[in-house]
């Protein structure tokens, strides 16, 4: 290791005396252990919230409901108010100039713009 790296102590030591179980004991090297954690979705599923009374707050039921306000439609490219939608690319646009731009965009960019508002075509 380089001197300046050692001096900055940026690398976490493998043995820490205050720990009861060291990292290398818990996760021995060279041993396949697969995935040993659950994603949030799986955690929520395992919690079985449906078995508890509805008025008891939990991680799922404190989520906000869908918005009641009228949907804001903005131009995907410029951020201006976007009253129009291109039937070919499904991008929203503000005026004819932006329309020209979106028609000249390569598909990759169209998809990236759509992905910004989670409207891109996702092939699974």
């Amino acid at each position: 290791m380089e001197q300046e790296v050692i001096e900055s102590e940026m690398v976490l030591p493998t043995h820490l005396s205050f720990k009861k179980i060291q990292m290398y004991e818990k996760y021995p090297k060279g041993q396949a252990r697969g995935r040993h954690w659950k994603h949030l979705k799986q955690i929520i599923q395992a919690e079985n919230y449906q078995n508890y009374p509805a008025d008891e707050p939990n991680y799922v039921n404190i989520e906000s409901p869908p918005s009641m306000h009228p949907r804001k439609q903005i131009c995907d490219i410029t951020g201006f108010e976007g009253p129009y939608s291109d039937p070919r690319t499904h991008l929203r646009y503000a005026n004819t100039e932006v329309f020209k731009v979106i028609r000249s965009l390569p598909n990759e960019y169209v998809q990236r713009y759509l992905a910004l508002r989670n409207a891109a075509v996702v092939l699974k």
Binding site: M1, M10, F18, W37, I44, P57, I62, P66, E81, R112
Partner: protein, 725 residues
Amino acid sequence: MPFISQTQRQSDYNLIPASCPIVIDNGASYFRIGWAGESEPRIIFRNIVQRPRHKITGETVTIVGDHDPALLKYFDCTRSGPRSAFDNDVVFQFEIMEYILDFAFDRLGADESPINHPILITECACNPVQSRSKMAELLFETYGVPSIAFGVDAAFSYKYNQKLGICDRDGLAICSGFSTSHVIPFINGEPVYEACCRTNVGGYHVTDYLKQLLSLKYPHHMARLTWEKVEDLKMEHCYITLDYASEVRLFQKGGKEAEEKTRCWQLPWTPTPVEEPPSEEEIARKAALREKHGQRLREMAEAKRSSKINELENELKGLEFLIQQLRHVNGNDIPSFLAETGYISKQEIESAIVKVTQSLRKAKGEQDEIEEKQDPSATEKYTLIDIPDNMLTPEQIKEKKRQLFLKTTSEGRQRAKQKRFEEELERERRNKEDEQRRLENPELYMEQLRIKYNDLSEKVEQRKRQKTNGNNHGNENNNVSGGVGRGERLNAAQKERMRLLTTAAFDRGKGEDTFGIKDEDWQLYKKMSKDNDDEDEGPNEDEAELTRVASRLREIDPTFFPKSEASSSGSEPPRFRPLTQEDFQILIGVERFRCPEILFHPNLIGIEQAGLDEMAGVSMQRLKSRAQRLDLEEEVIGITNSVLITGGSCLYPGMSERLEAGIRMMRPCGTPIRILKASDAVLDTWRGAASFASTMHFSRQVFNKMDYYEKGEDWLRQYQLKYTF
């Protein structure tokens, strides 16, 4: 800047009594750890872990938090980016959490013995019990912690500001963090989780949105737009507008105001050295050089020509000498004499002489005047033509045939010449007419010409298309008709030929063979032949006309561009343009307020949930229905008199005004609304937790390892900190 890491190792760990709790604010973006009762956390770092490979030794190392990026050059980070222990605002990856805690305790100065201090650690509202129990397990089993307490970050912040006298016992805490935003109502100083609400939008989404928008706007500078840089841009320039629509209209109009509001980030840029045009001397020198080369080539050609002339002259002399000698030789001796020279007869020698003289003339650059010379003598030459055959000897008949042949060819030549001349005249005449029409009405003329050009080019294009049948390999197919592979399209002519060939092949053996009886049958072979493909010999009429019109247009219309050239130049890469300072500027205009707008309209990034202002309304609605259900006489209306905004994403300028406007729209007229800013939106949570942990009240609310294992999961789910005492 509210976000500054500090990771100096603390030296006073062993001086702190064991009863003093360690306070941890485990936020999704930053991790803060310190001692209860103190006013500032000791250690602050980004809550991320990287596990790159050391470039020289090749070992995988663990790097926690953010470090000097210059030092990362010793590591290969390509295969592992920074990772977080959080999914949304819930800790789910406890291996990463362990690295983070290792680093935090190490920097706090812990050594030798296990961590012998109670721990207060923050979590999100209504943390799933699985995450909570894993965290407790990790702290008990791995670090030997005596006791733990969990608290909600927003609640600590609210309580701290209540202690400072900023907000009331009853109120709303609007806490917008890194990955989520919460609204938590407080009644009698206690958070009411039944009425709280969460939207999964936070600072992460704002930064990501800004990063994506900028990298789509400036694809060339994508590499410069790192997460850290965009985060800085966001904190420095983003603001929240009172009314998005009117603000954006300002930019759409593009007045002076919009210009003032646009921020510009100038990337490092050095002008490329301008290439000096070559000096006069240089040009002269080059011209001289070229001239010299040309001279040498000309000399070489001249030498070659003269040597050839010499050679031919010598040959001619030799032949003439031979002829002269031949005159002196007797008739009988001629064959034996000629045998030595290689010629068979006198005629052959003479024809050789003629040939050599002709090529000599050519070499000397003289005009081939034979034809012209022949012309006057033509009538004399064809003396035998008019005499009937029966009056001539066989030799004369032969001679007559020759003369006839010569005459027809020379006449044909004459006719062609005449025709050419007439065509020339015709063209001249047409040009004159054109010119006249042009002078009469230049615009109309030009318009007509253009229309004609377009029509013609269309026609020619269509023909070409038909010929190749939309196939780019048309040329290949024409040349190698046998090489038409399967699936390759044939053009019309090739198709026709194929049809003929197949019918011819299948006709065989079908009854009587009548082929050849009619004369037309033989035409079949002509149709079948390959040459039939290019049915138009040379450029056809349309093409000729097209070139004529194009050249005419080129003469009189400076804006005219032939289509083929235009299309070919279109496919070329754009011309090289020297890059200017403007090309290295990143302008942030609408993005400044478009990105934080997602906190109020999450649907802009496809999250179908209520925004911050609406969340406050939802929370109050839930509070009301809870009061009805529990038959409580709680004052819901007055709650808006103390709305505290806290969390890193509440630091945007204009936040309180926008929230006030949004909440005012939902509340009855005359409702008191006070939006209060937290004293320090980022650190208040830790401070609140630290002051809470320093009270006597805290020690009654912790649980130890025994409780954890005996009381079970259900108890842990119910576990809730009481914030008031």
